[in-house]
Assembly symmetry: C2
Homo-oligomer: 433 residues x 2
């Protein structure tokens, strides 16, 4: 059993006794993602999503139904200890939970431990030690590079180095928390001097997040063949960006205030075990591209390291909500548009001995498809604001306006398996203070 191998917990025929779980488009019993939730006056605790309910793992642990190591991890107010569990412990917990939720004989004991999701509050799943954002969406890199550096969109290192940079951990918020439009320095190319004002080019970025499980000691790289063992889950990530701040500040040390004012993640940690059926071969590199250096190459990773996910972005303006209009889909595309696998970015991150820790979060960078329907940011969709997007209700957008809500979703499907979702990553833009 390894990160890409399926077991009995994936069988499409598995049916949970939880009402509404069978055929649930996001959280069937084949998913079983972990999160932190609270209800009424109870303190935040670990839970598992099943259908439209959340199973209280602290309560399950108190019944003595899971292993002592898993029970201890489930008793905390963050998932850090659970993420740190060895992969075999995490898999054993998954198997145990799958059985509890499918075996009708367990229903009397377990059903009282379910809470309707609609009555619960979801929290950040982990205390995020360090957050790193990568740049593996090659079509995004090309699109955005063309706007920042028309003569030089893709730099010479791109196909050799999984480019990444450190982001801000403190300002990551869970789905649903509104963001405040940031102020900052910006300077139009023809202006004499910069001004400090609310951003006029607020954007979203469609990314996947990767949760680190077991860490590595400082000074000890993680071989790419072992990188999968260090990944404890996946989520959606919106890397909100202020493009005018970014253009003015980003040289020579990279994006800073253009990004660190707020990032939004989906609340559920989708485990590698749940994603196992939805792994696929990394697309072959185009003819002429360099092969990855040996420290980034693993044949198993190349054969199974890509994620078969369909990513979608929806926009709901305040006017649309007042009109009762459904959110408008801005883009749709596959996660296979990643030039590097998630295992490669983990191995690269630790290749200099940098120590990753349980609960660290890695972003993939914006994932855009080659076609405009799959562009993962407004900067790309509106060609830097030059071609506003028409919305069905007559409104248009070059960049985000106050009151806009952006919703990211992702779905994994494969013939013969139950589809699962990553849940929602959404937030509304509030005016600058």
């Amino acid at each position: 059993m390894t990160w890409w191998q399926t077991d009995e917990t994936h069988e499409a025929s598995l049916t949970s006794w939880v009402p509404g779980a069978a055929g649930h488009p996001v959280f069937p019993v084949q998913n079983l993602p972990f999160g932190i939730f609270s209800f009424e006056n109870a303190e935040p605790r670990a839970g598992v999503a099943i259908g439209d309910a959340i199973l209280d793992l602290r309560a399950v642990a108190e019944l003595g139904l899971i292993s002592p190591a898993a029970a201890a991890a489930c008793g905390e107010a963050t998932l850090n200890a659970l993420l740190a569990l060895p992969a075999h412990e995490r898999r054993a917990l998954r198997t145990a939970l799958s059985k509890l939720l499918c075996d009708a004989a367990q229903r009397p004991a377990i059903e009282p431990l379910l809470r309707p999701s609609a009555t619960c509050v979801l929290h950040l799943p982990a205390r995020i030690g360090d957050y790193t954002d990568f740049y593996v969406g090659i079509h995004h890199a090309n699109n955005i590079g063309r706007q920042f550096r028309p003569d030089n969109p893709l730099l010479p290192n791109y196909k050799h180095v999984p480019i990444g940079y450190h982001g801000r951990a403190s300002s990551i918020r869970v789905s649903g928390v509104p963001l405040v439009r940031p102020k900052g320095q910006r300077k139009a190319p023809d202006a004499d001097a910069p001004t400090y004002a609310p951003t006029a080019r607020l954007d979203y970025e469609l990314e996947l997040g990767v949760w680190i499980g077991a860490g590595n000691a400082l000074g000890e790289p993680i071989p790419v063949a072992e990188a999968g063992d260090h990944i404890a889950g996946f989520c959606l990530l919106n890397d909100w960006s202020a493009r005018d701040l970014q253009a003015w500040e980003y040289q020579p040390l990279g994006p800073f205030l253009a990004k660190n004012f707020h990032s939004t993640i989906s609340p559920w940690v989708i485990t590698p075990e749940a994603m196992a059926p939805f792994r696929q071969a990394q697309p072959a590199r185009p003819e002429g591209d360099p092969a990855p250096l040996p420290y980034l190459f693993d044949a198993t990773d190349q054969a199974h390291g890509a994620l078969a996910l369909t990513l979608e972005v929806f926009l709901s303006t305040r006017e649309m909500r007042e009109q009762g209009t459904a959110p408008h889909r801005l883009s749709r595309g596959p996660a296979s548009n990643m030039y590097w696998t998630v295992n490669q970015i983990v191995a690269h991150h630790a290749s200099n001995g940098c120590n990753l820790q349980p609960g660290d979060l890695l972003g993939t960078g914006t994932i855009s498809a080659p076609e405009r329907e799959g562009f993962g940011s407004l900067m790309e969709l509106s060609i830097g604001g030059k071609e506003p997007i028409a919305l069905p209700n007559g409104q248009s957008r070059s960049f985000l306006e106050d009151g806009d809500e952006v919703i990211l979703t992702a779905t994994a499907s494969r013939e013969g398996y139950a589809s699962i979702g990553l849940g929602e990553c959404r937030a509304v833009v509030l005016p600058a203070t």
Copy 2:
């Protein structure tokens, strides 16, 4: 009383009854820095350096000699709670400790709570949530910029924006912990392809660290006039850098693996209260430079915001230690070579609403003097490796070799006041694994 105003705890005539404290060049009773230490089998706890001893603050708190808020903060295994204290609480604690250590009547009660520093182990003073590195040393920016971009050393934003970027919190280690030479991708300009190998251009960077005290809520900027209240202390910071990795990876998103393999800080948090006598006017900007935008300008900060510190870097090679040769001073220069004050970098960091938290660490960036004697890195001293530095024992260095130890120190002096030091920031380079 504010961050630049002195009080009775600074009086040069103050004399502690602690043997060796009077006239101590680093830790006289006018300094009183906070740290985390352990001894024998005791767990890590808060302490204050005085002469060649450390006062156990947990034990002081247990005697009921300090305020309940301070006592609670001193009972933890990190300084985060102490750093988070309101400035008036921190000042009251300082005054109380100063009196306990100067009043001979207190000696019988307090002396048993002192531990000889030589018998103690120092730890990281705080759990660092986020670490941000700035780039305010304008001569460094010019020197290094000239090597990376000969035609364009100082970019157009430099004199408007306090340039900074996020660094890695997990790999920050306290003085004395050896670092492992990192491996990584590098590509010589004339090479066809990069290789993955131990860095051949390992360097140090001389920086000051700024400890954040009280934080701000997400979405709420910190006005520059209030920034001083959010700073809880200072330290020395060595931002170890692999120049060959940096040159190849840093575009377009900034330094990453070239920096995040290890950073070293001095163990003592030198408080703003201790530094109050050593504040001075920020040097006037050269004729023709733009004025700071209003959100970065505060007249009090301009009048008192600079730090009167002399910074020094020493190198001790393995051969020098075997020969019994003293460390060789590589550079010496004033901290006044900062284009932005520490209050300005704090205000800038939060100017987009980014939330700072107690225990966050900001680096100033390398502080170089205009003259070669004051260059803060080997990259500058050896002109990118082209002019090796001759050491007194006949060795030479372009970049660091295995076994080299780098030692940073800083001293604050002013006529009429007792000098204080920031302590040492040192580490030895171990071979790549």
